[in-house]
Amino acid sequence: MKRFLIPLAAFCVLVIFLAIGLTRDPRDVPSPLKDKPAPAFRLPQLAAAEKSFSPEDMKGKVWLFNVWASWCVSCRQEHPLLVAFAKEGKVPVVGLNYKDQLGDAKNWLARFGDPYVLSAVDADGRVGIDYGVYGVPETYVIDKAGMIRMKHTGPITPESLQKQILPLVAELSK
């Protein structure tokens, strides 16, 4: 009987590892940008192309930076949550309209609501690359000093909002 104990233990360890592996999202790759300064850029605004936006403009505020596009299906999924959240006015949400057509983007906001204080237009996706965007929607929590404190890949869920984003925002806003 004893001689089976070691293989059995090894098998159990393997099963535990695989079980943990199953619960993790392989798309959720840890971002190297965490705790680094948000990459600088200056882009035109979606609503008013003559105005521009730079992360510099948000210095001194805690804010969310949400990457979205009208062609992005998951963005629609997270959008009602963002709209409701923005209404509470707890923290400004800036959009990055990623690789989109201007008309499509504007229609999309008109149709589904606009949770953003403004959206910057990243037509060729160059700024997206600097932010390590690979699966829209993505959301960054940026602190008063302009550091990225958290990156959320994929649509925000009520759970991730309540358990991760809001507590972090509250802590950073102190």
Binding site: V29, P32, K99, G125, I129, D130, Y134, G135
Partner: protein, 135 residues
């Protein structure tokens, strides 16, 4: 002569280097494809960036660093050796060593069990008698 062909050759060289670099990189949109083989739009954009950086005279290492700074070690098919990746690099060898140790232990035990038991003088005589009988 070589000079006249330079523009074309340079293009080919850039393309070759771009492919070589992008084969080392994972496409994050379709994670099991390399950046060089992927048709995802992000992969195309990143290949464009790599071409641009080659044009700017950046070294391969600088280009890899550019990608890692944005997407993390995960983009590299050959992640660097560092404390968080020791298990990744060393794990297979640890498993191999464990396997060899288990095999050796098993062989040694079997050799002991199957070794011909020593017979005493008395037993040898009995055995010889039995063998004689059966003949």
């Amino acid at each position: 002569m070589a000079k006249e062909a330079a523009p074309m050759a340079a293009d080919v060289l850039v393309e070759k280097r771009m492919v070589a670099i992008s084969e080392e990189l994972r496409c994050l949109v379709c994670q099991n494809e390399s950046l060089s083989g992927s048709h995802a739009e992000l992969a195309q954009d990143l290949r464009r960036e790599i071409r641009k950086m080659i044009g700017e005279g950046k070294s391969d290492q600088e280009i890899l660093d550019f990608m890692v700074a944005r997407y993390g070690d995960f983009v590299r098919y050959r992640p660097p050796m560092k404390p968080t990746t020791w298990l990744l690099w060393g794990g297979p060898f640890v498993l191999l060593a464990g396997g060899i140790a288990a095999l050796l232990a098993f062989l040694r035990r079997r050799a002991r069990e199957t070794a011909a038991p020593a017979l005493s003088e008395e037993e040898r005589r009995r055995a010889a008698a039995l063998l004689d009988q059966s003949n």
